[in-house]
């Protein structure tokens, strides 16, 4: 038996149904469109890597050329497949030729459509095979070492230099980390390209690049072997390059990715249409790769009040789940985010945190929930902060969370120092072990504060979902329903990268991944 809430399943079902309706309202719009980022992702999946003149990545050069030439609405796959077939070159060679100005994709004669389609599918299958191979490698390693017990200790590194990151990450793993997140350089989500190569200079984080992914994956595989347990790697996909970074993560065997349009819309002012279209493709690739996505609902509570706004988190989780399902993602990969962010001066705050955490658990029984530590109410008082983190750790193990972002006592001061991480892990491990079977030993008093709180949050969630279903998601976002931030559907960054698909649009990945193209 384990700690649970007495919640009417019919109300949970109703919430899910409403979220489904909300997503179905925008899904046709999403599927009618593509974006520059999706097309670049296709190019990258075809194996294109590296930079052209002026440090611009080849993927960008190819897609810009198509966009300028007005051909992008047919899909980059269409032109690339044609070019490869016509020239007998690899996609990489084709891209390099485009970059050098030696080749104009749209000037080449076109093969019959069926041949182009077949060629594109062959190229795509190569990528999908590599992605599936990564997945098998991961499964084999986890099989060999054994899976880690939940909650998984998720630790961040953020030195800005991939090589320092490796030192910090390997040491964090030795200290007990189950998951390493490499924090990205500030505002990378605003870049409309993915930098190339190994990087050593970033602000408050390290650029997400294919080479950096590779370096860190290798380092973690090494330390996994040393420790005899599989250390997971995660990075951020959200932002203007979500599909591209998702593709790189799939190619380089990342295990998890922060991947959520809502985060980009609200906190980075990315255009809502753009990023929702991007997200559909990104999650599809992640689904294929067995990558667990992490959503960003926790961030709402850094801006809005955690006690008041809990229902916005839950509503958003329901919506995010539906979006993920539309990308073919199973529950086991949907790491919905939530957070321990109530004001520490709140009477019975611990009980309410438990109520909220249990409620997410009950509503999404098969999702590997991602639980975020106190950040907003952390101050420079590292002693007090360390105790807040202890209660967070307790709540996590007591309510059965899966992915546990380890709270760090210096949260309000700097990105973690080596020993900050050590102290934080020690705190979490102490609680997880010292309260290991809390879940099995306690029951919640029926009709008490915890149950009442959970039911109230669920009621407000239902109300909110009804409202969004009535207004439409784009309007709700424009009205500031989430985190109190208003984002109109035609505002923000990246709208210029959205385009309606042509009738002859070609993107073989949709067929391979979504339509029965799953694991053979």
């Amino acid at each position: 038996m384990s700690l649970t809430l007495n919640i009417d399943p019919a109300r949970v079902a109703r919430a899910r149904e409403l979220a489904g309706r909300i997503v179905d309202q925008v899904q046709p719009f999403i599927e009618r469109h593509t974006t520059t980022a999706i097309e670049r992702a296709v190019v990258r999946l075809f194996g294109v890597e590296g930079k052209g003149p002026d440090e611009v990545p080849l993927a960008n050069l190819v897609v810009e050329a198509l966009q300028d030439g007005g051909g992008l609405a047919r899909g980059a796959a269409f032109w690339m497949a044609n070019a490869c077939a016509q020239t007998g070159r690899t996609p990489q060679q084709v891209a390099e030729a485009v970059a050098a100005g030696d080749l104009d994709l749209m000037r080449l004669p076109l093969l019959p459509e069926a041949e182009i389609r077949a060629g594109a599918e062959r190229l795509a299958r190569g990528a999908v095979d590599r992605i599936r191979e990564n997945r098998r490698t991961r499964d084999a390693l986890i099989n060999r070492y054994g899976e880690r017990p939940a909650p998984w200790l998720y630790l961040i590194v953020a030195t800005g230099n991939i090589y320092e990151d490796v030192v910090q990450a390997q040491n964090a793993a030795r200290q007990g980390a189950d998951v390493i997140a490499v924090i990205r350089s500030t505002a990378q989500s605003l870049l409309d390209y993915v930098p190339e190569g190994a990087t050593t200079e970033g602000f408050a984080g390290t650029y997400a690049t294919q080479e950096n992914f590779r370096i860190m994956r290798r380092a973690l595989d090494e330390v996994s072997e040393e420790l005899g347990r599989y250390v997971r790697l995660t990075n951020y996909a959200s932002g203007l390059c979500m599909p591209e970074i998702a593709a790189l993560g799939a190619l380089e065997r990342l295990d998890m990715m922060l991947s959520d349009s809502m985060y980009g819309i609200l906190f980075r002012d990315i255009n809502p249409q753009r990023t929702l279209i991007d997200q559909h493709f990104a999650r599809m690739i992640q689904a294929e790769a067995g990558i667990i996505i992490n959503t960003g609902e926790d961030n709402y509570l850094t801006t809005a009040d955690a006690y008041e706004a809990a229902h916005t988190v839950l509503a958003s989780q329901f919506i995010n789940e539906q979006f993920a399902h539309r990308s073919g993602m199973p529950d086991g990969q949907i790491g919905l985010g939530h957070a321990f962010e109530m004001d520490p001066s709140l009477e019975d705050g611990l009980l309410y945190e438990m109520a909220d955490a249990l409620l997410s658990r009950v509503c999404f029984p098969n999702a590997p929930l991602k639980y975020m530590p106190p950040t907003r109410h952390m101050t420079g008082d590292i002693f007090f902060g360390h105790v807040m983190n202890a209660l967070f750790n307790l709540t996590s193990v007591a309510t059965g969370q899966q992915i546990h972002l380890v709270g760090i006592l210096t949260e309000a001061i700097h990105t973690p120092y080596l020993h900050d991480r050590f102290l934080a892990i020690e705190n979490a491990r102490y609680l997880f072990n010292n309260a290991r079977h809390f879940r099995e030993e306690f029951q919640i008093v029926p009709g008490g504060r915890i149950e009442r709180r959970a039911n109230e949050v669920l009621a407000r969630t239902l109300g909110l979902l009804e409202e969004i279903a009535a207004r439409g998601l784009f309007q709700a976002i424009a009205d500031g329903v989430f985190a109190g931030i208003r984002r109109p559907a035609d505002g923000g960054k990246g709208l210029d990268g959205v385009l309606e698909k042509d009738a002859g649009y070609l993107n073989p990945f949709y067929d391979l991944c979504l339509k029965g193209g799953g694991e053979a």
Partner: protein
């Protein structure tokens, strides 16, 4: 005169200080001694390594208690402090109506790549902070809150457009001292545009002190715990002083 103080543990003058740090030295007697010597180089006496933890990879974490020996003379300390009168919203609004005769115009932004709007919003949004209403709620203010990630150029353009009396900048991210370059960049730009003397320039954020802000060419700086009414009072007081000149 001089009033020299030392840290206090449980006896006046005991100098008690706690430290923690990591050294790139494998755990052991030599590491302990290195930690001790490091403290001696800080002019600390009797350093006691009370904990020594192995971080792996040849790094060791230490917790040390020691005695500071060099006190600080309180009489030699002169900190520039923001002189914001403790006026209420009502008083401020009345003062603006009576003595300025038009709403004060302020433009605010998180500049550079900073996306931390919570602090700026605490000052500007209706709702305010800890029960103290934000500037939008004042009759005597008109507020343009440009939000996050605003380039200095865009901020200056907006200030010019609305003929702002005050420009409010929030800076939360301080890594690699990015806030310093953002802030001095803004001052340079305002000067280049010949606007520096026409606006009050105010900064805020968790690592901002009045002293630092003034040093960088701002009129004032506000740190953690700032209430909107303090900022409003400072602005109105400064404008009134300028009127009188």
């Amino acid at each position: 005169m001089s009033r020299v103080v030392l840290p206090y543990g449980d006896t006046t003058g005991d100098g008690a200080v706690q430290l923690s740090f990591t050294l790139p030295v494998p755990i052991g007697g030599a590491a302990r001694e290195a930690a001790r010597q490091l403290c001696l180089k800080m002019n600390l006496e009797n350093p006691q390594v009370v904990a020594m933890r192995d971080l792996g990879g040849g790094y060791t974490f230490f917790i040390v208690y020691a005695r500071a020996t060099r006190g600080v003379d309180l009489d030699a300390i002169h900190v520039p402090e923001v002189s914001a009168p403790a006026w209420s919203m009502q008083e401020i609004d009345r003062m603006v109506a009576e003595k300025i005769g038009r709403p004060v115009r302020v433009v605010g932004a998180c500049t550079g790549t900073d996306a931390h709007t919570v602090g700026l919003d605490a000052i500007l949004n209706m709702k305010g902070y800890r029960g103290d209403y934000g500037l939008e709620r004042y009759q005597g203010f008109r507020v343009w809150n440009l939000g996050s990630q605003v380039p200095n150029e865009a901020l200056v353009a907006k200030a010019q457009e609305v003929e702002a009396d005050a420009v409010l900048v929030s800076q939360v991210v301080t890594q690699k001292n990015v806030h310093l370059s953002n802030m001095t960049g803004l001052v340079d730009l305002l000067e280049a545009e010949g606007m520096r003397d026409r606006v009050l320039l105010i900064a805020g954020g968790p690592r901002i002190t009045h002293e630092l802000a003034v040093e960088l060419g701002f009129d004032a700086g506000f740190g953690p715990g700032t209430l909107p009414s303090q900022v409003a009072a400072f602005i109105v007081q400064s404008l009134l002083e300028r009127q009188e000149r």
